[in-house]
Subunit: 192 residues, 2 copies
């Protein structure tokens, strides 16, 4: 006697018992839900509902909730890196970075919320982050030789980018436009 038939026949039976591409579908749904409601709010159950699957099925593809969020972040970092490879100047890099962050605020909040310790145990995420940093190295540190100095310079860039975007997004920098923010941060990063 099939155990689930009662409910299974109540709803229109799914085309395939095996979803087939649940992992990527869940990733897409999670990305959308994070974008609209923020990663703190995201629940596995709503992701599962969105793709029409029992919530526990997600555990076949993601170790836990954090792993799902890590995967969303990884994908986002990869997209950002793809944008930044086309940057040519410091101003351009800053503009592209800021525009991505502001166009995808909730996603950016997720990306920057991943604890650094976590990344060490998540090579794909670490690699995606590294691609973004590598582009900053290329743009901002062309004529710096010492690796330590290069790293230092990049960190200064990220301090202003991250701080500026955070304060802007928090609504503390209420008056300036996105354009003004880019100009401001470009100026701060110019003199270093």
């Amino acid at each position: 006697m099939p155990l689930y038939e009662g409910d299974m026949t109540a709803k229109p039976r799914r085309a395939t018992y095996r979803h087939g591409n649940l992992k990527s579908a869940a990733l897409k749904a999670a990305t959308r839900l994070v974008a609209t409601s923020g990663h703190e709010q995201l629940s596995l159950r709503e992701v599962a509902d969105a793709v029409g699957v029992a919530h526990r099925s997600l555990y076949n593809h993601f170790a836990d909730r954090e792993a799902l969020l890590d995967a969303v972040a990884t994908e986002a970092y990869t997209r950002l890196a793809a944008i930044l490879v086309k940057a040519e100047t410091p101003e351009d890099y800053t503009a592209k970075y800021v525009r991505f962050a502001l166009a995808n605020r909730a996603l950016y909040a997720l990306m920057t919320s991943r604890p650094h310790a976590t990344m060490k145990h998540n090579p794909p995420l670490q690699a995606a982050v590294h691609k973004v940093i590598a582009q900053a190295m290329r743009i901002f540190c062309q004529d710096i030789e010492s690796p330590a100095e290069r790293r230092r310079a990049v960190m200064k860039v990220y301090i202003t980018l991250y701080g500026g975007i955070s304060l802007y997004t928090a609504g503390v920098l209420d008056q300036p436009s996105e354009k003004a923010l880019i100009a401001e941060l470009s100026a701060m990063n110019a003199g270093m």
Copy 2:
């Protein structure tokens, strides 16, 4: 027939049914728990347990979990402001601010996590934050007249402070010491 006697007599009866200073006791306990476990982990139940009270009793003093966290943040901002009034120079302000943030990382994370929109509806919190900003104005904007320019200058200071502390705390700036971080951020704030 007293309804709760069974359980009440099982435990040693509390000295007073009225706790007396539950609000401040809960605040203290919450502050300690936030400091040790982070504000994301904080549950009303463990706060209630820590002060020996039913979890629902906290709602007599705080509207909800967020209100409790806001109260913790307000108290922390007030303490920080009290430290900063003694600052004399930009370097001193930076050093005191950074030292507070790093000595109370989880608390600082809570403070900076309060959404700006929330503050507008929470005058005590807003006032506490304003005290901190006022000290920055005093130290960094002595010879700036235009209010808009003063605000702009303060924001630049906070961009570097917040960005620097965030990246340092996240472990991204792995090599420098607290002292080196202060020096770095002081230098970044010097030229503006």
